[in-house]
Subunit: 621 residues, 2 copies
């Protein structure tokens, strides 16, 4: 048995109301692994070019990885993918929680959802069996209500639910898929695709015991990890993402402020999860099998009334609704976050859309009439929360913002486009590309548009200490933040490919599993005789497949670019004299293409596709 | 300490009679590692383009690797490099024995020899000290005599000597460097460069204890290795290379027969080291610290009188003097081998040169007058041995053949060139490219000309069992021998880069250290936090540097080609209907270029050089 490991993939045809199981061979599993690898494979193989992402012809793929469902910290994740209604290109997002592990225990590695149900339905997967169930009574319900009804009617409190709220039903273009009420497959609008299919939820329950090839080795690795992981992860353990770093982010210029315009946000400390703990009830919980409980649970009374079942805000959400909207009221931020989870819309795109609207408002491009009288100034916490609600419900200006800043700017006109902070239609996440300039290059070339996940965070390769880890892949020297020369691009290539591998295996980026650990764990679980080389190449394969998908959908080199704002410095603060040089960015992008084995236009060469065993995709170029 | 590991490099200027020590920084060590990596670095950095390889401007580099000198089986090797007088391009060869380990224990990782001594000298390196000593009394002496004199005059029987015999002194273009009398840095004419410098030998003695970062881990790896290595290595342990496989090689067509013309060598069994053991005294010995004693020692009386101090023939030598010359007399083969070690000339190039002359003779291109009356027919064992001697001493036809088949054919004319079996001037080694067709592609693109070492042996990726190992680098399925499509080229790219890494670390290919073991050993010894990815990229770096060197020296795409003979099948036997298709070969070569990140002309692109941190070499293209 060279490749060995295989499993079951569930296919659900909503139009025909059919479910079936497929068993790809062991080489398929080893070559594409799972998660984003499966997503990229099925989207390329099965979608027709040029389809409307919100039509029945789109497919929505839920995929776990070979490590999902084992007691390995950081692996309680799954991936959701489809053609993105936000970018028109490759759509994919990952999410933590417990749903992925439950799916695996129910006997499936992935689900391919196709077609469109006549009436709202949900999928019920129970220990190897799958069925479609009516969801008419759930349609219009917020996530908390829907989950409660499902668990009740199937009579099992331990059923895990991945679902959409009314934001997904109404196809907010950046609607997300919500697991366990508080974990979001946030980006690229996967919830809108789910809504377009009249699919409300996927409820899962499973009891299957998963097999490990080398139990002893796996146990030893996890023990080793748990003994050393707490120390560097203490901040996450106590306060989750953002804990203790808000002020530093503001000072360094990393914290997006007033729609990425300014560098002088004074309220950062008030938004810090460390402070949060003193002011509001904050508890922590963990994803499946994770020893780092980094997920916040907040409870707030009047006037905000934030229900703890919806968790609490991650760093991205805090910054998007906080500094990016000039809001320093953490309770308002928590409310905005709760609404997003209730209605299933992405906090980053929502916050950036509101920041965009605020800047339009302050510049007279949007009037009080446009906002239904809401004073949409930067810093107006109530207005911010109100706008979240309006987006969730597609009310008034909310209906325009629900299309994302790119389309909203086209609709609003009058120069609004210069305030639309996006790449390929996806809103910029909460890391400043003028500070982390390699990340800025990554924003331009990421297949899903501006994305901070499978991207290089320059701050992680600027110290000798951090280099000690990354030297494993040949990054031997610390690099400067504002360098986007060949050395930085090389780091971006390696790093982003490796992170796409993480999205196939479905491992959390936060945990310090490194280039040596991962192949060891993969060997122990799957029996594949795998190395850092093989796995890095899987990551490269996925990056490349996503690129081929985008090219097939008509995206070109022109779509690989940053908003003009990033070519000017901040109005104040640490980055008051620092910006990205367009000429340098252009060179960096070309260098990225070349290092990836793509041509000057960013199109993968035939030989690169052959090297990655993707010759079957050449027909799409 | 991210990169940490460093050491001493000895520089010897023969013209100025100066020795000095250099200490490159730790990043240099980690980026180029040692052996062939150091050779490629110094040749590119320090040689002027276009120099005569036999002029004082050439430099001769001896280099060990970070594993050399430790008790790790398979690491008792060193590399020797210079601009090759045989190919006019990148010259490099590796050699086993004890000399490399001794050099390391004497406190040096490498020696750069430059200039030319006025009179013959040798270098004496003793525990951190180095001096030049007169070698006038050694000049003209065969290796056995020279070593004895050196050990006597320095009064230490344990001194290790790397040296040339009269073949090197007379600059036979494929003269080699001989370690311990019986181990040859055989290929690319490094012995001729040594001769051109009036450098007879490098004598070494050292007592330094080498430090390991993680002793326990290293000990565990070696224990694990010694417990499992014997089984697959039993043939090597009993009979060395060629043991038990000659007949099978003849039957499959792999055994070069009558200058690569035929496929029906009936005497294979008589040449088998298994048979050898019954007919002649055969003992086995090991390189430094190796548990697999694969080196033959033969002793033969009248009429051949083979002295056991010169060891015995490897598979390459048996085939080159045996089947390739149609000789089935193993004693004659042993004599030819002994002469080569005495005079320090490469057995492969010598055997192929004689096979070439035999075919010329049988076709009337060489006459009895040309051969001084020797009946140089295929199968004439005595004539074969006599020709070895004449090449060693540059007598008569031997003087012409001492230039290698490419130059000899130019001298002889009359269509001799169609019998000249070489790539880039280096004679083809003893593996049939019509059988192992991926290896055939490898012959064309190898920077040193036809070379079987840092090359893909297709037979190692044709079974499920072998794939289990190579799956570690993503070769997941067995491939066909006669396939040279993209899948095979991909395997060639990965495999040959990995083997160039072995030539930097200086590990023996025969031992079953694999893609997972090697990074573990490197981590234990050096403290580098290294992975299969980093090390594979070092291999790629070295392949690329050697290519850049060749381009600077004027070699082009046109030099990447096989002799016409390989486009026709064998006259008989298993390959009577199999040959390489020129069109397929052309495609395979272009695919190789592209997969390596080179352009259509085989020139590395700027971005590839940047990715490999070789931007400093771009000036040479």
């Amino acid at each position: 048995m060279v490749n060995g490991y295989t499993g079951n993939i569930l296919r659900v045809d909503l139009t025909e109301e059919k479910v079936s199981t497929e068993n790809p061979d062991d080489i398929f599993y080893r070559r594409y692994i799972g998660g984003e690898g499966f997503v990229a494979y099925y989207l390329l193989k099965e979608l027709k070019a040029g389809i409307d992402p919100l039509s029945p012809e789109n497919k929505l793929i839920f995929a776990t990885g070979p490590l999902t469902g084992f007691a390995i910290p950081g692996t309680g994740r799954n991936s959701v993918g489809a053609k993105s209604p936000l970018t028109g290109g490759f759509g994919e997002a990952e999410v933590g929680g417990h749903w992925g592990a439950e799916l695996k225990h129910a006997g499936f590695d992935a689900i391919i959802v196709e077609g469109k149900a006549k009436n709202p339905v949900y999928i019920w997967i129970n220990d190897g069996e799958a069925e479609l169930r009516d969801a008419s009574h759930l349609w219009g319900k917020v996530t908390g209500e829907a989950q409660e009804i499902i668990q009740k009617e199937l009579d099992d409190k331990l059923i895990r639910v991945a679902q959409i709220g009314p934001g997904g039903e109404q196809m907010v273009r950046y609607a997300c898929v919500i697991n366990d009420l508080r974990n979001a497959a946030g980006r690229t609008g996967m919830g809108a695709v789910m809504g377009s299919k009249n699919l409300k939820a996927i409820a899962v329950r499973g009891h299957k015991k998963l097999e490990v090839i080398d139990k002893e080795k796996l146990r030893a690795k996890i023990k080793e990890f748990n003994e050393v992981a707490y120390k560097p992860m203490k901040g996450y353990f106590e306060y989750g993402t953002g804990g203790g770093i808000m002020e530093q982010f503001a000072t360094s210029g990393n914290l997006p402020t007033r729609n990425f315009r300014d560098g002088n946000f004074l309220g950062a400390n008030a938004l810090d999860p460390g402070i949060m703990k003193q002011e509001i009830s904050l508890k922590m919980e963990a994803c499946y099998a994770c020893s780092i409980r980094c997920k916040k649970i907040v409870e707030i009374g009047e006037p905000w009334n934030v229900d703890p079942i919806y968790g609490g805000p991650e760093y991205e959400s805090i910054a998007a609704f906080g500094s990016n909207c000039d809001v320093d009221d953490i309770k308002a931020v928590c409310k905005a976050n709760e609404l997003c989870n209730k209605y299933s819309i992405d906090t980053i795109s929502t916050g950036v859309s509101i920041g965009f609207a605020m800047e339009c408002y302050e510049n007279g491009i949007l009037s009080d009439k446009d906002t239904n009288g809401i004073k949409l100034n930067f810093g107006n916490a109530e207005a911010m929360v109100k706008m979240v609600e309006m987006i969730c419900k597609r009310e008034g200006l909310g209906d325009i913002l629900a299309e994302g800043v790119k389309r909203a700017a086209e609709e609003i006109k009058n120069g609004a486009d210069k305030f639309a902070m996006h790449v390929k239609g996806q809103e910029i996440p909460m890391h400043e590309p003028r500070l982390k300039q390699g990340l800025g290059v990554g924003y331009t070339i990421s297949p899903t548009g501006a994305e901070h996940m499978a991207n290089l965070h320059d701050t992680s390769i600027t110290s000798e200490r951090s280099i000690a880890v990354h030297s494993a892949i040949g990054i031997l020297e610390p690099l400067e933040l504002d360098d986007i020369g060949a050395k930085k691009v090389r780091a971006l290539v390696y790093y982003s490919n490796w992170r796409n591998l993480f999205n196939a295996l479905l491992i959390c980026y936060f945990l310090p599993w490194d280039y040596i650990d991962i192949p060891e764990i993969v060997r122990a679980v799957t029996g594949w005789y795998s190395s850092t080389w093989e796995l890095m190449k899987v990551g490269e394969r996925i990056t490349t497949m996503a690129r081929v998908f985008n090219i097939r959908e008509g995206l070109t080199k022109k779509d690989d670019w940053l908003p003009e704002r990033f070519f000017q410095p901040h109005t104040s603060g640490a980055l008051a004299e620092t910006s990205i040089k367009p000429e340098e960015l252009k060179n960096a992008i070309t260098t990225y293409y070349k290092m990836m084995g793509w041509n000057d236009e960013g199109i993968p060469t035939k030989s690169k596709l052959e090297e990655l065993e993707l010759d079957w995709t050449f027909q799409y170029l």
